[in-house]
C-alpha cells in the first residue's frame, strides 16, 4: 500500500520502454523518409508479404504484452496484500464543495469551506503508521487525490471505499478533488499534514478537549 513506491516501480519500467520504442520508431521513420524518397529514382518494392517476419513479430508483441501485464498485475497485487489492520481510521466525506475528516471512535471532525485557501481543511496523520481511510460522499461523486501519495480514489454517495495510507516522513501536502463535481470543483482543495506520532496524539487530545468544552 505504499502507492508512491509502487508508482515509481512501474513508471521506472514503463517509461524507459516507451521512450526506447519511441526512439526506434522515429529512427525508422526518419530513415525511411530519406532513403525511400521518390527523388532517388528507384522502383517501389513488389514484395507485400513477409511470411517469416510477420508471425515472429506477433510472437514478440505477445511476449511483451505478457511480460508487462504480469509485472503490472504483480505490483497491483502487492498493493492489495498490504491492507492491514490499522489502529487509526478516518472517515473522509466529500460534499459540494469541501471535505470533512472524522477520526473514528473519537468525537473529532475536521472540516472547512474550501472557498478560500486559508479555510481548506487539513487531514492530520501520524508519521510511520498505517491509517485506514473510509471514503464516501454526501451528494455527488467526488475524488480524493493526494498527488504526493501518488493515489486517488472516487468518493461515492451510499458507498464506502476503504484503503490505507502511510506517511513515511513529516510533511505538508496539497490534496484536491479530481473528478468534476459541480462549478466549484476547482476549489475543492485540502491539505494533508503528517507529524510525529506524539505530536499527533497531543493534537488529537486538544481537539477532543475543544469538542468537549464546546458541548
Amino acid at each position: 500500500m505504499n502507492f508512491r513506491h509502487d508508482f515509481n516501480e512501474v513508471f521506472g519500467v514503463e517509461a524507459p520502454i516507451a521512450i526506447a520504442v519511441m526512439v526506434i520508431i522515429c529512427a525508422i521513420v526518419a530513415f525511411t523518409v530519406i532513403r525511400y524518397r521518390a527523388g532517388r529514382g528507384h522502383e517501389p518494392s513488389k514484395v507485400a508479404k513477409h511470411p517469416v517476419a510477420e508471425p515472429l513479430y506477433v510472437v514478440a508483441l505477445v511476449i511483451i504484452a505478457l511480460g508487462l501485464s504480469i509485472f503490472v498485475a504483480h505490483v497491483n497485487g502487492q498493493e492489495r496484500r498490504g491492507l492491514g489492520k490499522p489502529q487509526l481510521s478516518v472517515r473522509v466525506v466529500g460534499f459540494q464543495w469541501c471535505w470533512s475528516f472524522h477520526y473514528e471512535h473519537t468525537p473529532v471532525t475536521v472540516t472547512g469551506t474550501c472557498l478560500t485557501k486559508s479555510q481548506d481543511p487539513t487531514l492530520m496523520l501520524p508519521v510511520g503508521e498505517d491509517v485506514r481511510i473510509d471514503l464516501t460522499s454526501n451528494d455527488v461523486v467526488h475524488e480524493f487525490w493526494v498527488p504526493y501519495f501518488r493515489f486517488k480514489m472516487e468518493a461515492f454517495p451510499h458507498h464506502v471505499n476503504s484503503f490505507d495510507v502511510r506517511a513515511t516522513h513529516p510533511g505538508d501536502w496539497v490534496g484536491r478533488c479530481a473528478v468534476y463535481c459541480g462549478i466549484f470543483h476547482y476549489r475543492m482543495d485540502f491539505r494533508v499534514k503528517a507529524v510525529s506520532a506524539s505530536a499527533f496524539d497531543s493534537w488529537l487530545r486538544s481537539q477532543r478537549a475543544s469538542v468537549h468544552s464546546a458541548a
Binding site: E14, I25, T32, P44, L61, M153, F156, H158
Partner: protein, 565 residues
C-alpha cells in the same frame, strides 16, 4: 462471389438545387452532408477549446464564468466525440465504402438520409442548450450521476443534451449498420472479403463496434432520463456505478470508432504514395478484427479508481491491445519501407501520425496500469494522452484522408502549398499544446478546472500549452482558406490524380450518381487498378518476348529438327 444484384436499382433523376442536397438518396451527397456538418462542428468546438486555453494561459484569469467554463468543456468534449469525430469516421465510410467495393449505391439510402437528420437535430438540440436560461449541459462528456440528475443539474440544457445525444447516437448506430450491410451485400464481381481495400476493412471493424457498443450509449442516456425524472434512483450506489459501467461500455469502443477509419485512410494513403501494395494485408485484417473484439472487453480501465471494478482483469486485457495495435503499426511502416515515397500533404499527415499516435498509445499503456492510473487518472496527463490519440492520431489520419479524397469528392485538388503550411503548423501546434499537459497533470492539475492559483506551479506548462493552442487555431484558418480557395480555383483532378489502386479512382471525380459509368474489371486483389496496370505491362512484355520467341523458333526450325513440344 457475385453480390451485385443483376438489375441495378434505378434512381429518380436527381433533384436540382438545395432540395437536391437535402432530399438526396445519393450516398455521396449524404456523406458530404455528414462530413460538412461535422467540419462546422469541428471548428465550433475547437473555438471553445481555444477560449478555454486563453483562460488557462495565466493563473486566476476569468474570461469565462465558472458556469460557462463548465458548459464549454462539456460541449467541447461531447461535441467533438458525438458530433465531429464520430461523424467524420462514419461519413468517410458512407462516401467511400460503396465506391471501394464497386457498388452503385449504399444499402438503405433513404434510412441513411433520415439518420443524417437524426444526427443534425440531435446536434442542434445539444448546442441549443446555450439558449436556455441555465445554459448548456455542464457535467462533462460522461455526465456521471448523481451530478447529472435533476437534483444537482436542474437546467433544461442537460435535458436537451440527453435527448440530442440519444438522437445523434441512434442515427450513428443505424449508419453503422447500413455501411456493414453494404459491405456484406453489394461487393462487385471478384471482390471477396480478402480482396477489399484496407480502408473498407477498417470500416468493417468500426461498424461492428458501432453495432455492439452504441446501444449502450442509448441505454446510458435512458438511465439519465430516469435520473432526471426520478432523482431518487441515484440514492442507490448500484444505479450510480451501473451508469458508469454502461457508459464506458460505449465510451471505450467509441474511442476506436474514432480511430479505425483514420488508420484505414492512412493505410490507403501509405500504399498510394509509396506506389506499392499494402504490406502484411492478412495480418492487418486479423489485427483490425482482433482489435474491435478486444475493444469491447476493456471499458473498466476508465474505472480503476472507483474501487468497484476488477482492476487486474481490465489492466491485463487493456495491455494486450498492444498486440493488434503493434500489427497495424507494422503494416503502415513496412508499406512505407521499400516504397517510392511521394511527399504530398496526405502522406505527410500519415507519417506524422506514426510518432504522435505512439505517444498516445504508450501513455495509454501507462494508464492501463492501475498503480500509475491511481496518480494520473482525471488529471491533465489523461487529457494529454487522449488528445495525442484523438488529435495527434485520429485527426491527423482524418486530414491524410481529407487531402487524399478531397479531389475525388470535389473534382479539384487542394492547394499543396497551403496544405503543407497547414500540416507544419498543426505538427508544431499539437506538440507544443499537448506535451506540457503531461507535466501539468503530473504536477497536480486535475482536468476540468476553470483556473489554478499562481502558487500551484502550473503557470509555465499552461502558458506553453495555450501558445500551442494558438498555433493550432492559425493552422485551422489556413485549412479553411485552402478549402474555400480550392473549391473555386483548385487544379482539376481528373479520375485518378494520385495513380491510386482502389476502385473509387476508376470513375470520374466527382463520380456520377450511380458511381461508375463503365463496367468494372473483375477484382483479383485489394489493389485492382494496380493489377490492371501490371497486367498491361506484362502483356506488353509478353508481346515483345513472344515476337522474339517466334523468330527464334523459325530460326531453330530452319537449322535443326522440330522443337520439343
Amino acid at each position: 462471389m457475385t453480390t451485385v444484384p443483376a438489375s441495378v436499382p434505378t434512381v429518380p433523376v436527381p433533384r436540382r438545387g438545395v432540395a437536391g442536397w437535402l432530399l438526396t438518396t445519393d450516398h455521396k451527397r449524404i456523406a458530404l452532408l455528414i462530413l460538412g456538418t461535422a467540419l462546422v462542428f469541428f471548428f465550433v468546438f475547437g473555438a471553445m477549446a481555444l477560449t478555454m486555453r486563453s483562460q488557462l494561459a495565466l493563473p486566476g484569469m476569468s474570461i469565462l464564468s465558472p458556469h460557462l467554463y463548465s458548459e464549454f468543456f462539456t460541449m467541447h468534449g461531447s461535441g467533438m466525440i458525438f458530433l465531429a469525430i464520430t461523424p467524420f469516421a462514419l461519413g468517410l465510410g458512407v462516401y467511400l465504402v460503396p465506391l471501394q467495393i464497386g457498388s452503385p449505391t449504399i444499402a438503405a439510402p433513404r434510412l441513411l438520409l433520415f439518420c443524417y437528420y437524426l444526427y443534425l437535430f440531435g446536434a442542434l438540440g445539444m448546442v441549443g442548450g446555450f439558449l436556455t436560461s441555465h445554459g448548456a449541459a455542464d457535467d462533462g462528456w460522461f455526465a456521471y450521476v448523481p451530478l447529472s440528475g435533476s437534483e444537482y443539474s436542474p437546467g433544461k440544457g442537460m435535458d436537451l443534451w440527453i435527448a440530442g445525444t440519444f438522437l445523434a447516437g441512434l442515427g450513428q448506430l443505424i449508419i453503422g449498420g447500413a455501411i456493414l450491410w453494404t459491405v456484406m451485400r453489394l461487393r462487385t464481381k471478384g471482390m471477396s472479403l480478402m480482396r477489399m481495400p484496407l480502408f473498407t476493412w477498417s470500416m468493417v471493424g468500426t461498424t461492428l463496434m458501432v453495432i455492439a457498443s452504441f446501444p449502450a450509449l442509448l441505454a446510458a442516456m435512458s438511465m439519465l432520463t430516469v435520473a432526471r425524472f426520478h432523482p431518487g434512483v441515484t440514492a442507490s450506489n448500484t444505479f450510480n456505478i451501473a451508469y458508469q459501467d454502461v457508459f464506458w461500455f460505449y465510451g471505450h469502443p467509441v474511442v476506436y470508432v474514432m480511430f479505425f477509419p483514420f488508420v484505414g485512410a492512412i493505410l490507403d494513403v501509405a500504399a498510394t504514395f509509396s506506389g506499392r501494395r499494402n504490406s502484411g494485408y492478412k495480418w492487418t485484417v486479423i489485427a483490425l478484427l482482433a482489435f474491435s473484439t478486444g475493444s469491447m472487453a476493456v471499458w473498466g480501465h476508465h474505472m480503476f479508481t472507483t474501487g468497484q471494478i476488477p482492476n487486474d482483469y481490465f489492466s491485463v486485457v487493456s495491455i494486450f491491445l498492444i498486440v493488434p495495435a503493434g500489427l497495424e503499426y507494422f503494416s503502415i511502416i513496412s508499406t512505407l519501407v521499400g516504397g517510392r515515397l511521394v511527399y504530398r500533404t496526405a502522406l505527410l499527415f500519415a507519417i506524422a501520425f506514426l510518432p504522435q499516435f505512439f505517444i498516445g498509445g504508450a501513455t495509454g499503456v501507462m494508464l492501463a496500469s492501475p498503480t500509475l492510473d491511481y496518480m494520473l487518472h482525471d488529471t491533465y496527463f489523461v487529457v494529454a494522452h487522449f488528445h495525442y490519440t484523438l488529435f495527434g492520431g485520429s485527426v491527423f489520419g482524418f486530414f491524410a484522408g481529407f487531402y487524399y479524397w478531397f479531389p475525388k469528392a470535389t473534382g479539384r485538388l487542394l492547394d499543396e502549398r497551403l496544405g503543407k503550411t497547414h500540416f507544419w503548423l498543426m505538427v508544431i501546434g499539437t506538440n507544443v499544446t499537448f506535451i506540457p499537459m503531461f507535466l501539468s497533470g503530473f504536477f497536480g492539475m486535475p482536468r476540468r478546472v476553470e483556473t489554478y492559483p499562481p502558487t500551484a506551479g502550473l503557470t509555465t506548462t499552461n502558458l506553453i500549452s495555450s501558445i500551442g493552442a494558438g498555433i493550432l487555431g492559425i493552422s485551422m484558418v489556413v485549412l479553411a482558406i485552402n478549402i474555400v480557395k480550392s473549391l473555386h480555383h483548385g487544379e482539376r483532378a481528373g479520375a485518378n490524380p494520385w495513380g491510386a489502386f482502389t476502385l473509387e479512382w476508376a470513375t470520374s471525380s466527382p463520380p456520377p450518381p450511380l458511381n461508375f459509368s463503365e463496367p468494372l474489371p473483375y477484382v483479383t486483389s485489394p489493389a485492382p487498378l494496380l493489377d490492371l496496370r501490371e497486367r498491361a505491362e506484362l502483356d506488353a512484355v509478353e508481346a515483345a518476348e513472344g515476337h522474339a520467341h517466334e523468330t527464334l523458333l523459325a530460326h531453330a526450325a530452319a537449322s535443326e529438327e522440330e522443337p520439343e513440344r
